[in-house]
Amino acid sequence: MKIEAKGVYYKELNEKVREAVKGGEKDIVLDNVNGQYFIGDGIKGKGVSITINGVPGNDMAAFMDGPTIRVNSNAQDNICNTMNSGKVIVEGNAGDVLGYGMRGGRLFVRGNVGYRIGIHMKGHGKLSPVIISGGKAGDFFGEYMAGGVLILLGLNAKNGEAIVGDYLGTGMHGGVIYIRGEVDPENVGKEVGILDPDEKDMKQLRGYLEEYCKDLDLDIEDVMSKPFKKLLPVSARPYGNLYAY
């Protein structure tokens, strides 16, 4: 089902999307999207697929639970905000504060991501959100991270160029971050340890990346051709001694 979005205000557009989903529509294409906020917010349903042509506005896929959204362009800020499950694939770059408090599902970005990615991502038992960016990221990557997996590939980085900003994993107290290439310890939050992934890690990592490569038509061996660093929180309570009782 195609929905023309040109000049349509977000309320109307999202109403149409919700109606289509409720009506059992499994394959929805939004054409000429430009800047409409809140697309796919709170919608439910496994097997529902939404394709977006154009740049969707802020807060896309917030609280989303199940569907898959493919954006054939760049995406703006705050997407996958507190998302519960489902998948978002972005063919271009995406903005700041992606996957804030994300609880499950996948966010795959082909290109760069902005500042504060995966803030306070959650994870418990089998519920484990995954964010993968093929490009570079800004400061505060994985800030307050409590669970899930963040992977940064830097496939577009020039030789020697840093692929991640400062304050990496600051406040991290759960989950795991994988960075393809070297990590400068000076840019890493004090509560984070930098490790070399072991065999089990690499198997898990390959699993996530195979899915990513399939979705974005990339060669998994290319992606795996460089060593990764693994970042883990080194203390569950890094600030315990800051307080007096």
Binding site: F140, Y167, T170, G171, L242
Partner: protein
């Protein structure tokens, strides 16, 4: 011989059932309250000052120090202190002395000011996980910079910068001289200052050779007594301070009793052992503002313009005009000591009735320097009544560049503000030169405690900045927009440049 009619203030009690006769109280008390009576500890409660040293060192908690229940008849007009001082004066004809800062119930404006915090329209910042900057420079700043780019596009600074004191956070320790406090107490200050990247201040007693290793974190003082001042001393620290006055005793000089002048103090000060060390009331080379300029520049010459010069004054009524004059006389730092500031010894009548609070002084001085367009000419240090990081944040918001703490620092060494510093009997080993008392103040142990305090205050300051949504101390400095007054009259609010809460 009549018994003194000045009532004993405290009653020291020992529960003889609990007491194990270990005699620790006898060893610990510097006042001679306790003595051994053969089978139990005898108590001369008249000597007790409630410093609580014995209480802390009694292993079985057998000691209790209580206020004397035989109080003078309660009277709102005639307080205990009024009556006691009259009795004392009648008996001696003397001026009652006191130590520490004014303890009367004057309004504390810090307690009538509240800080802002962010909600919705701007975000607060997490100080633990995001950058938060407290670095502070004290000294004259140029009002504008001349910066040019060279052919390669690299920036070149054409403006000549004047020397600064760099502080890791906007705190420093107030001047407390060797003599008024023990060498060990000075070592505590020096060690903590070095570890915390801030500075201690020698006070006017010179710099003992043991403190030279800490000189990158020491500010040396030149006061009217000129104790221990030589070219090496002037160039030893990071800055030189001219002491004009002290908040607790504006307008009067210093008087270090002979009991506190043993050999080491006498040597550092170059005066006879056991004589009273007298600091004249004024600096006798400064009878007017142009004379201050002369001394400032004499010191600048002697230190080859490598050290910022600070001028410390007690905050008196006309503080704004005085501070303006000090800035124009060439001082790099103006150290304001509020009337609640501490002292080792001061006449009670002076301490309790002279000067103005630091809150008013900072506001007035900051305003005046801004009105005259010379706020950049000198940094402002606020001292005299900073009790917490909250007070410090408020002082900074009113316009201070940094805050100095004295009493607060001594408290980390055990001080309980008993106010008897002038006797030289301090049981905590702080304001005494008696070797058996000073030996108990281990600089390593207490240096760590003082470091802890500064570390905790730094964190508190960062929490405050974070809640205010700024990540650098200079964005709070002078930002009175982030303060509101509660229960203050409009004249006071106007004077402080602060709006009432709710507006």
């Amino acid at each position: 011989m009549f018994k003194s009619q000045a009532l004993t203030e405290y009653i020291a009690k020992i529960d003889t059932n609990k007491c194990i006769r270990c005699k620790r109280c006898i060893q610990n008390c510097g006042w001679g309250v306790y003595s051994w009576g053969g089978d139990k500890v005898n108590i001369d409660t008249n000597k007790c000052v409630k410093c609580l040293r014995c209480y802390h060192y009694c292993p079985v908690e057998a000691i209790d120090i209580v206020d004397n229940p035989t109080f003078y008849k309660r009277n709102h007009n005639w307080s205990f202190q009024h009556i006691k001082n009259i009795k004392k004066q009648a008996e001696t004809g003397g001026i009652p002395l006191t130590g520490m800062g004014c303890d009367l119930d004057y309004p504390v404006l810090f307690d009538n000011l509240l800080l802002d915090a962010c909600q919705v329209t701007n975000p607060s910042i997490d100080p633990l996980r995001e950058p938060m900057e407290l670095r502070t420079f004290l000294g004259k700043k140029p009002s504008r910079l001349d910066i040019k780019r060279d052919k390669k596009g690299k920036l070149k600074l054409k403006t000549k910068m004047t020397p600064q004191i760099e502080l890791r956070s906007p705190f420093m320790f107030s001047p407390m001289s060797f003599g008024s406090i023990s060498l060990n107490a000075q070592k505590v200050l020096a060690m903590a200052a070095k570890e915390c990247g801030i500075v201690m201040n020698t006070g006017e007693g010179g710099l003992h050779e043991d403190l030279y290793p800490y000189k990158t974190n020491v500010m040396v003082q030149v006061a009217s007594g000129r104790f221990g001042v030589n070219p090496e001393y002037l160039n030893a620290g990071v800055a030189v301070e001219i002491k004009i006055g002290q908040g607790a005793k504006p307008g009067i000089g210093g008087h270090l009793p002979g009991e506190k002048i043993p050999l080491q103090v006498a040597k550092t000060r170059m005066i006879p052992i056991g004589t009273d060390a007298l600091s004249p009331a004024p600096q006798h080379d400064i009878y007017s503002i142009e004379d201050l300029r002369q001394l400032i520049y004499a010191l600048k010459e002697a230190t080859e313009y490598k050290k910022p010069i600070s001028v410390k004054i007690a905050t008196v009524h006309n503080v704004a005009a005085i501070a303006s004059g000090i800035a124009r006389a060439g001082a790099d730092i103006i150290y304001l000591d509020g009337f609640r500031g501490g002292t080792g010894a001061a006449p009670t009548v002076i301490r309790d009735h002279m000067g103005i609070p630091i809150e008013h002084a900072v506001a007035a001085v900051d305003d005046r320097l801004r009105e005259e367009g010379i706020r950049n000419e000198a940094s402002i240090v606020a001292a005299g009544g900073i009790r917490s990081a909250g007070d410090a944040a408020k002082a900074i918001a009113l316009g201070a560049d940094a805050c100095a703490i004295g009493t607060t620092a001594l408290m980390t060494m055990g001080c309980t503000v008993c106010g008897k510093c002038y006797t030289g009997n301090c049981s905590w080993g702080i304001t005494t030169q008696r070797p058996e008392l000073t030996a108990r103040l281990d600089p390593e142990v207490y240096g760590q405690r003082l470091m802890n305090l500064i570390r905790a205050w730094n964190h508190e300051l960062m929490e405050i900045l974070g809640a205010l949504g700024v990540n650098s101390i200079e964005s709070l400095r002078g930002s009175r927009e982030r303060l509101r007054g509660v229960g203050l009259d409009s004249a006071t609010l106007d004077m402080l440049g602060v709006k009432p809460a709710g507006r």
